[in-house]
């Protein structure tokens, strides 16, 4: 759905985006993660046809955005990190205005606006003035705005920044619903764990470079070189520990009450072998959970090492 090739953006001598390459599959949620000033917003603005790159290529659904930006805009819904709203405009008029700016006929855009307000749970606010809405409501309204022309790719620049936990949860729920509807979503954040749970894959950008890209699990495994599983056994704890230590893929076993935290190398296939070894030895396993790594720590490691690239 989205292909970025060798994208470069320079401001004088400052390299904001440094030969960035990435791909997002159709229907995926891609988390674009990086510290402040890493080049996320610049990259997103370039993809949204709002900024010209110094060099490189961006293709959205087969359309080269630099060759045909008008056509590309039909495919893209863009929500900036900071945005304002007009005074004196009601919620339904706000959506109607942007609908007309996308060339949608009056009756059609009225219907779309009603559906979108329902999607973002603002139907009861349709006659309220936009500038009276809370920040969370404005964010949801802006999300509805970027959906008004039914784009296939959504570019959301820190959509949950500055929001309280409840509003964040609402945004996440809407994003999950949009994924279910088949939308491809590129979402940025400077906090990896914040978006990890809803993203199919993430890319970590630092100083204009995409230093790592893949699913959250893949990134954890690549960065730490291990997978952690928590195993709960009903009894025979000592036998379970000695059996686990015999396995070649296991690097460490730590006992915590009735649970064991096992660090191992290898893929999911190796985990399955591990579980099979326990079960075939009649160890009463009641729980076998693959743990997520410490995303915060990985993010800090990745963004502090300029040369780290996979």
């Amino acid at each position: 759905m989205l292909v970025v090739r060798d994208l470069v953006k320079k401001y004088g001598d400052f390299l904001a985006v440094d030969h960035l390459n990435m791909e997002v599959e159709r229907g995926q949620i891609f988390g674009f993660i990086g510290p402040n000033g890493a080049g996320k917003t610049t990259t997103m603005k370039i993809i949204a046809t709002l900024l010209a790159p110094t060099s490189g290529r961006v293709v959205v659904d087969g359309i080269d955005v630099f060759k045909d930006p008008i056509k590309a805009r039909e495919k893209i819904g863009y929500m900036p990190d900071f945005f304002g709203v007009y005074d004196n405009l009601k919620v339904k008029e706000y959506l109607d205005f942007y609908g007309s700016a996308y060339g949608i006929e009056y009756r059609e855009r009225r219907k779309i606006a009603e559906d979108l307000l329902e999607l973002v749970d603002l139907s009861d606010k349709k006659d309220a003035y936009v500038d009276t809405l809370s920040r969370g409501m404005k964010q949801r309204l802006c999300l509805a705005r970027c959906l008004i022309h039914n784009p296939e790719l959504l570019i959301l620049d820190e959509p949950a920044s500055g929001m309280d936990p409840r509003a964040r949860a609402e945004i996440k729920a809407i994003l999950k619903e949009l994924k279910r509807m088949g939308k491809t979503i590129l979402i940025s954040s400077h906090i990896l764990p914040e978006v990890a749970e809803i993203c199919d894959s993430v890319g970590i950008i630092d100083r204009g470079k995409l230093v790592v890209q893949g699913s959250v699990e893949q990134i954890i495994q690549r960065m730490t070189g291990r997978t952690v599983v928590r195993i709960r056994v009903l009894r025979d704890m000592d036998r379970a520990i000695s059996l686990l230590k015999e396995q070649p893929m296991v690097t460490s076993v730590i006992q915590e009450d009735q649970e064991l935290e096992v660090a191992c190398k290898g893929s999911d296939e190796d985990l399955w072998q591990l579980l099979r070894a326990l079960v075939s030895s009649d160890v009463p396993v009641v729980s076998f959970r693959k743990m997520e790594g410490n995303l915060e720590q990985i993010f800090m490691e990745v963004t502090s090492d300029e040369e780290m690239a996979l």
């Binding site: 630099f66 304002g84 942007y98």
Partner: protein, 305 residues
């Protein structure tokens, strides 16, 4: 409305501008200022014996004086109000962080610029229309026909279009509304003064070099100043160039020159105010295109794919 005629920026602005008390208050204040100055002028004229109603000719003269005063007053107010209406339309979108949202729609930068200009001009048009009752007072005295007023109003709209495009251009060029507003006023003031001074100088040089001039010379620089066009229009409407106020003031430039022989070239054969309207409209169109170019988000030439 046909789709190619429909401008979302204009439609939205027309809908929301009349909400609340601001627009009504602005129109009231505008008319209040005009009425107040007209009343003072009228009162002083009557008290000084300049105006009296004993004969047809004196009534006509009184009507003409009131008309000229109102016309110049309205012109000055338009020059004052139009930059305030236009010099912030794009920069305020930047300040409110709504410009990007507009630019990533299917609207072209030029249609955004045109929508913004027309919505500002719509307000100026409202002010002009609301002043019609005041202007109609002139008809009580006689001397001015309704078509004269219509022509004057047309010239106002052209002037507002030209002045508005300067405001829009600076608004697109500068990020801050305060800067664009100040620079717009300075530009208008500078153009108004410089064009007249330079025009007068060029004319004096021209006629000093010709001992007995027979040609009709108007420096092109005078065509960029709408005040000169207004002077010509009012002078034509007032009739006798030797007795009316305008030739007394502006006759130094074109009044004298017109009395010298016949004009050369098709452009100079046009009435000065029409030539002036054409020139300032042309400049306005260029400025609007430049504004659209400035806000254009994607400048193809810069990208090396």
């Amino acid at each position: 409305m046909k789709r190619w005629l429909y401008n979302p920026v204009l439609a939205s602005s027309l809908k929301t501008r009349m909400r609340g008390w601001r627009t009504a208050a602005a129109v009231t204040a505008y008319l209040g200022v005009m009425l107040f100055i007209a009343y003072i002028f009228f009162k002083i004229s009557v008290e000084n014996g300049v105006m009296y109603y004993l004969s047809f000719s004196s009534s006509r003269s009184a009507g003409l004086r009131v008309y000229l005063m109102l016309a110049v007053l309205q012109f000055a107010l338009i020059l004052l109000v139009t930059p305030a209406q236009t010099a912030g339309v794009i920069s305020s979108e930047r300040e409110m962080q709504t410009l990007d949202l507009l630019l990533c729609t299917k609207m072209s930068p030029l249609s955004i610029i045109i929508g913004k200009l027309l919505s500002s001009l719509a307000f100026i048009l409202l002010l002009i229309i609301s002043s019609i009752p005041l202007f109609s007072l002139v008809f009580l005295f006689g001397g001015i026909a309704p078509e004269d007023v219509a022509m004057l109003f047309l010239f106002y709209i052209i002037t507002a279009f030209a002045v508005g495009s300067i405001g829009i251009f600076y608004s697109a060029l500068f990020k801050r509304t305060v800067v664009s507003t100040v620079v717009t006023y300075i530009t208008i003031f500078f153009l108004g003064i410089v064009s007249v001074v330079l025009g007068a100088y060029m004319m004096s040089v021209h006629y000093s070099q010709v001992p007995s001039p027979t040609d009709h010379y108007i420096p092109f620089i005078l065509y960029i100043n709408p005040a000169v066009g207004l002077g010509d229009l009012l002078a034509r409407q007032a009739g006798d160039p030797t007795t009316n106020v305008y030739y007394g003031i502006l006759g130094l430039f074109f009044g004298v020159s017109r009395s010298l022989g016949s004009p050369q070239g098709w452009f100079q054969k046009l009435p000065l105010w029409i030539g002036n309207s054409a020139v300032i409209s042309g400049i306005a169109v260029l400025l609007l295109c430049a504004s659209a170019w400035v806000i254009r988000p994607y400048k193809r030439l810069r990208c090396k794919s």
